[in-house]
Symmetry: C2
Subunit: 347 residues, 2 copies
DNA sequence: TTTGGCACTCCTGGCGTCGGAGTGCTAGTA
DNA sequence: TACTAGCACTCCGACGCCAGGAGTGCCAAA
């Protein structure tokens, strides 16, 4: 009863309207409530209550003689105060575990597969940011000579990802020099945070070994590339699931969503502020900040491994979504994924 | 006049019907033809001709008193014999060149960006296979020690891609041993075709250096992973463009397409037989082999670099697509992409 | 405060009508 | 013989109308 305007009965009615509307996609009538859920009161009373809920902004009527539909505020109240957290079924839990166990060890592919699975399980559009590893550790750099003036710099981090940068030089360099440089860099930077592997220090080492400054550029580029795993690319899957929902039978709706997914920028903005928190976040309708997205909602759950490396796991669907279930699915997946990643991390 | 049943006038009428229908998405009436294209004959004559074209299977009538629409066979004849190859406008050509010049040097990203561009330019769904490099060359392998019993094997090929494989050993191994093994492998395999880097030869070298057989597995896994660039993953972009077409206002159509795109398998089948040829290929409607895809067409153009590395660049859209223009766009993009890749390849 | 009852509103779907677009055919013309 | 003008015919699609039904709001009674 946090909200002063909502006594227990109103709260229950609101919750039931949300529940029923999520299930049927039809405006909910007073009679439906009294028949399907035994409220112990008549439909007339329910009508009175619903009229007040509408006055309070929790429900809206598509037209005069129709049932009620939750408003953004209605969903919000439901999510924050009324709904019962759902637990994953054992079957779901097992399925998540099995699918992730069989998934690739390669980070990008693992994220891709997780996204697909989540899209499938949730029957909505799932998107997952690749982990933003603020503090991944520098593990190794290796400069490899491919031709007298061509080579590649490869950086390995604690995420197990290697980043590479091809380089071409204006003068020949001996393979041994590249090896010497690699060793020196490794000795100097080993197990430092990647963000602390700075260009000036690299330059100092290059100069000390009397090597061309071009090599500094090559190493810096590879480090930069490894660091770019930090601006999270986003994998998305399951757009076709949305077409099952009646609200997307209009093609225009879907078009804007597809565009948004392909562009990624908007998706990123959606998760960006959820990013600051370590708790699940739910954004409903207009809370997404765009008229185009006004009848959608997004559930976002963080996953993490190691002290600071983390990413976000989101489900996007119609506002009329089963919030509790999707939160459970996302949380369960996040948990398993976190664990899977922690296991794979290079200590 | 290859086809015996089509005299010059019928051919022209068929071509015009296709052209007009592609432009308007409306069944084409006899009067429309005489008014918009000066045929020098009356609409009644056109009607007679169209009736014969329908009898020949080139046109169909959605209903009795409607205009004509091309059939699969009609489009096929148009594509094979009637349409005039289109040349890219200078503006398009420049745009392709500019976008690809600014694109990433990283292979996967380059392919992604190319796909997006092609989707945008063509206003349809584009998909591109990553290059299938039958004969990419082995350039370098580097075994890196990350911890006494953990390391990573990295393989660099002539595509400039590095593949990696983490390994864990049951007993310690000295960093120098890994270096020795790397050198031996490099000396032995340098510039061999990747497919010829066989496990038995690797095993022989490992044994010769008296190293644990686990390292053979690690190296083989990395080579295998590099080789897996050969089973082409497919990048797709532009699904939302399809929604502009009236034939996709029905959501079900789109759903099957989205599913197909996400699964990739069907996409792969579509390009698979085009793969054998070095010429552009066009598949129309039922030629795609599935009732679900019956009102779609796909244009496929190969790109290549080096002697054997190659991939496919496809555009999928409604059967009613501007074939000549899409072929020109795909070909132009393929050409520029091929060149871009050839420049980046490690000699 | 609750509830039964009732009048009212508005949506929805079915039905018939009507206009127009386009054809096929016939008869006439070059 | 090939073309064309004209006309009757077909069929689609839009429109308006109506009836049915779902659901409400409100009133008056418990």
């Amino acid at each position: 009863m946090k909200s002063p305007g909502l006594d227990q009965r109103k709260a229950y009615i609101l919750a039931t309207v949300v529940y029923e509307y999520v299930a049927t996609a039809e405006p909910v009538a007073s009679q439906t409530l009294t028949q399907k859920y035994n409220l112990g009161i008549s439909s007339a009373t329910v009508r009175n209550e619903m009229a007040e809920l509408e006055a309070g902004g929790y429900l809206v009527q598509p037209h005069t003689s129709a049932g009620r539909v939750p408003s953004d505020a209605g969903y919000r109240t439901y999510v924050d105060q009324l709904m019962e957290p759902e637990a994953l079924t054992a079957a779901d839990r097992r399925r998540i575990r099995d699918e992730l166990r069989d998934a690739s060890r390669e980070l990008d592919e693992l994220i891709d597969q997780t996204t697909r699975m989540l899209g499938r399980l949730s029957n909505n559009l799932a998107f997952v940011t690749r982990p933003q590893a603020d503090t991944q550790l520098f593990k190794h750099v290796q400069l490899i000579s491919l031709a007298p003036r061509t080579g590649v710099a490869i950086v390995v981090t604690s995420l197990g990802v290697s980043a590479q940068s091809l380089f071409e030089l204006t003068s020949d360099v001996a393979a041994e020099d590249l090896t010497r440089l690699s060793s020196a860099l490794n000795a100097h930077f080993a197990d430092r945070k990647l963000r602390d592997v700075g260009e000036t220090e690299i330059a100092a080492i290059v100069t000390e070994l009397k090597l061309t400054d071009e090599l500094r550029g090559a190493v810096a580029a590879a480090v930069q590339s490894a660091r770019s795993n930090e601006t999270p690319a986003i994998a998305a899957a399951g757009a076709q699931n949305l077409l099952d929902q009646p609200e997307f039978h209009d093609a225009r709706k879907l078009q804007s969503i597809l565009r948004i997914v392909e562009e990624q920028r908007t998706l990123y903005e959606i998760v960006a502020d959820a990013m600051t928190s370590e708790n699940p976040s739910v954004k409903i309708g207009h809370e997404l900040g765009s008229e185009e997205l006004a009848d959608l909602s997004v559930v976002t759950v963080p996953y993490s491994f190691g002290p600071d490396a983390s990413g976000m796991l989101s489900i996007l669907g119609p506002r009329r979504m089963p919030y509790a279930r999707l939160l459970a699915l996302a949380s369960g997946t996040a948990e398993t994924l976190s664990q899977r990643l922690a296991d794979a991390e290079i200590k």
